[in-house]
Amino acid sequence: MHAPVHLHATTIPAKLAAPNRWDLLAFPLIFAVLVLLAVGAKGTFGSLEAVKAGPISLDPAMLPGYAVRTVLRMLAAMAASLLFTLTYGTLAAKSKRAELILIPILDVLQSVPILGYISFTVVFFMNLFPGRVLGAELASIFAVFTSQAWNMAFSFYQSLRTVPLDLDEASRAFRFSSWQRFWRVEAPFAVPGLVWNMMMSMSGGWFFVVASEAISVGDEQIALPGIGSYVALAIERQDLGAIGWALLAMTLVILLYDQLMFRPLVVWADHFRSEQAAAQSLPHSWFLTVVHRARFLHALGRPLGLAAQWTLRAPILNKAVPGPMITETTTRSRVVDGLWYVGVILAALFAASIIIRYIATELNWSDVLTVLRLGAYTLLRVAVLIALASIIWVPIGVMIGLRPKLAEAIQPLAQFLAAFPANLLFPFAVITIVRFDLNPDIWLSLLMILGTQWYILFNVIAGATAYPTDFLEAASNFQIHGWKWWRNVILPGIFPYYVTGALTASGGAWNASIVAESVSWGQTHLTAQGLGSYIAEMTTKADYPRIVLGIAVMSLYVIFFNRVLWRRLYRYGERHSRLD
């Protein structure tokens, strides 16, 4: 095993900083990315008229430019998500009282369908920057942000809460300031979990960036330059060739993103693993290797490194030194706690009354019943689809996972399929359904799971790969075969992984229902009855009370589904299927 390379500028002597051949590789790569980003960013700050004057073109030559704009939105959303994570997650972990509010909020936000409230955010941001593209851009970025931020913040919060006791004690005993503690202990400890969640977020994000670029709310029609708008136009014009080009562009973008951003990140994050044992196989990234070996690049990065070092010593940042450990003997004011509780409950009741009064202005109980009924249809779809996907992918995932060579080849493919925005494939489904005159209520359902079924596959593969070989050998030694083998040997072992995958897939399916239950190809519109198509329809009509009702009911269904099924399964798995 080779020693992990490290990024600290202090370890690179300055005299070695002459450019070397690795710089030749690294420079063009990095600057090409920077130039593309700069070009893409230029359009972001123009006026809305410019977008309307120069509408989207289906010329494939325009696609690289559109792709850059789409990527830029993803990056901006990711940056916002990181900022949110570092602040929100930290606050929730550090303050007991803030935690009381912030964590339940996060829990609910995770369950709210993102595409449901896009109509609100569009109006909000457009009013914030009237007549500017920036408003529409921000609305799109916000949609992606909401698909990424919650689980990242959760992961960060969890990590901060579970910093190993001995590292906590060491940092206190050596009198680290709060600032040093955060950057030297807490943040590094959170890195592996955070990077993994960033990858998952990014996977889900492509779907939403594509869905949120071309939005119409009432009379307002916006098509931001990007792959999503390109596809929307191709659908309107029934241009199958253009769809093909868009698929190709999206594939290349996701592959590049993986190579240039995520592999380097995963390799880098590996240094922050807290298990002391050496890793079995170190992930590899050619891009990170190039950057590491490029000397001149290091010299350029040196000031940054020095600045980071400076902040760890600067007296102004390092005044506050945490005291002793908080033990249970430390008394907190019970009265203030009580008041705080009461305040939180009152605020929640007040908020609920606002929502109910708003909905009640135009709607009555029959609307509520309709929405509940539609929600039940969508619930049925999600449940059946998850069951179907499980029946198909669990055995396949196990077969793949138990063959390490095959798993190594298939795993990236499964992850790619999970990241690929399935909404780009919807037109093919519409054509097929129309062609064979299929029932949209049944066959459109498949679209809901098209993109998210892969989460089941790659989690099961991961579980089967991690399954201890000695258990398998014992099973074959005792001649355990067939159904018994599945029931007693492998299924309990992969169960926690499966639940994680199915939970993600079901959440994704709910979200996707808003675009999957109502699709079109040119003038052909197909609709399946359900809560998703209801929300989509009301968004087009800009009927806000009904949108709110739809979102609220969908959120309740998701929360209910999570509590009743997934959480229980998860806890069951934790209790009964632990391998240690």
Binding site: A173, R175, R184, N318, G323
Partner: protein, 439 residues
């Protein structure tokens, strides 16, 4: 030499003073469990003090209170005249688990403490390199902790503690995560650094469960009793450094401490004391029944033939005192062994047990269990009264918690479950947490 600076003859200055330390943790039912009870002693200049005790006696808590990491419920820690209520400058700590930051290199780990003091980078670097060299790690500055062996990691732990020029060094079981050979080398290296006065450290406090380690390193040993932790006895180790483990004087002190740690210890009760004596509140050590059987076998066989020093028995069973004492305690509770004149004897029942068949052993064990452990008899009685003959774990836990801390109650129940299963006086379904009569 150490002789000159040792405490007894010269009334050396106290560097760190602990006075009437009392530590209690609140319990769910409102009252509190006492971990440390009225502990007072001082660290004097030039001495290494060992705090010796079994796991769970609160010695690590005591160390954390001394370091300012924890505040005691009552009592005072004074360091160079000032009260310690938070981690103080001049007190450094070495951890059992090393507590190195895995994402920092050896050099960065060692420098981290200096960064916290706000030292300039160049100066911090120079000092850190010197500390790394002193502890024998030069060449590994840019390695990450996970690339190092356990012994080398703990060397980084020492370097990190030494580099901040501490006045007091605290060691929390600093050698117990290392293998025997590595631990011994590191102990010797540490004693070299200490006796040659290569650092500014005025005094050392170390916490350990290893009697030989304490005798090897310390000038003074404080033995803690458990439940609650209080000072049982205190003794000086008047041997010059470096010490020879096989020397008769050394062995004599080790045997003396063994005797002191086992003497005067009847059946353990919860801290509510005598009221619960012989009731179901008797605290039981978690010792697998099969280990008790091994222990009795070893004691019965020649050359011991029914009588031995605990230390000798421990060496034969390859058990450290920390694991050995609970076994001895369990065997004594069950009436298979007794202490007579500092030596352990098999009782008549113990002799029968050792010579019996597997079936006979179970039967004898069960009889003794029901007779000597009121909790076992209690569970058995409740089960036979009930119909069907079953009861959940939750039926007994609250009763135990009237007498014991939640942790002790849990441990005691775990112990009685294992013993009861072995003796087949009741069965236990782990999945559903249910007791039942043996079918």
């Amino acid at each position: 030499m150490l002789e000159a600076t040792r405490s007894q003859d010269v009334a050396a200055k106290a560097v760190l003073d602990l006075s009437h330390i009392h530590q209690a943790f609140p319990r769910p039912n409102g009252d509190s469990s006492v971990v440390l009870d009225d502990i007072s002693f001082s660290l004097r200049e030039g001495e290494i003090v060992g705090v010796l005790g079994r796991s769970g006696c609160g010695k690590s808590t005591l160390l954390r209170i001394a370091s300012g990491l924890m505040r005691p419920t009552s009592g005072k820690v004074t360091y160079e005249g000032a009260p310690v209520d938070r981690p103080a400058k001049g007190i450094a700590m070495v951890f059992q688990t090393f507590a190195l930051f895995p994402w920092l290199t050896v050099l960065q780990n060692v420098m981290a403490g200096l960064d916290a003091l706000g030292m300039k980078e160049a100066q911090a670097r120079e000092k850190a390199l010197a500390a790394i060299e002193l502890i024998g790690l030069d060449g590994f500055e840019t390695a990450y902790p996970r690339e190092l062996s356990g012994g080398m990691r703990q060397r980084v732990g020492f370097a990190r503690a030494l580099v901040v020029d501490p006045v007091i060094l605290l060691m929390d079981e600093a050698f117990s995560a290392l293998d025997v050979l590595t631990a011994e080398t590191l102990r010797s290296d540490f004693i070299d650094i200490w006796t040659e006065k290569k650092t500014a450290i005025k005094s050392v406090m170390l916490v350990t469960h290893n009697i030989e380690e304490a005798v090897f390193l310390c000038d003074r040993i404080i033995v803690l009793a458990s439940n609650p932790g209080r000072i049982a006895t205190e003794l000086e180790v008047p041997l010059p450094q470096p010490r020879e483990r096989l020397a008769p004087e050394f062995r004599e002190i080790v045997d003396d401490i063994y005797a002191r740690m086992t003497a005067g210890r009847g059946p353990q009760t919860g801290e509510k004391g005598d009221a619960a004596l012989a009731g179901i509140g008797m605290r039981l050590p978690v010792v697998p029944s099969l280990r008790i059987a091994d222990f009795l076998d070893m004691l019965a066989l020649p050359p011991l033939s029914g009588k031995a020093d605990l230390r000798v028995l421990g060496e034969r069973l390859r058990l450290e005192v920390d694991t050995l004492l609970p076994v001895e305690e369990a065997a004594q509770i069950l009436g298979f062994v007794e202490m007579k004149g500092g030596a352990l004897h098999l009782t008549a029942a113990g002799k029968i047990f050792a010579g019996d068949t597997a079936e006979g052993r179970k039967k004898l064990f069960g009889e003794h269990l029901l007779r000597s452990v009121p909790l076992a008899a209690h569970i058995r009685r409740i089960l036979s009264e009930r119909s069907p003959h079953a009861a959940p774990r939750g039926r007994f836990l609250p009763e135990l918690q009237d007498h014991l801390t939640p942790h002790e109650a849990d441990q005691t129940l775990t112990a009685v479950i294992d013993w009861g299963r072995y003796a087949e006086i009741f069965a236990y379904d782990h999945k559903h947490h249910r007791f039942s009569l043996t079918p």
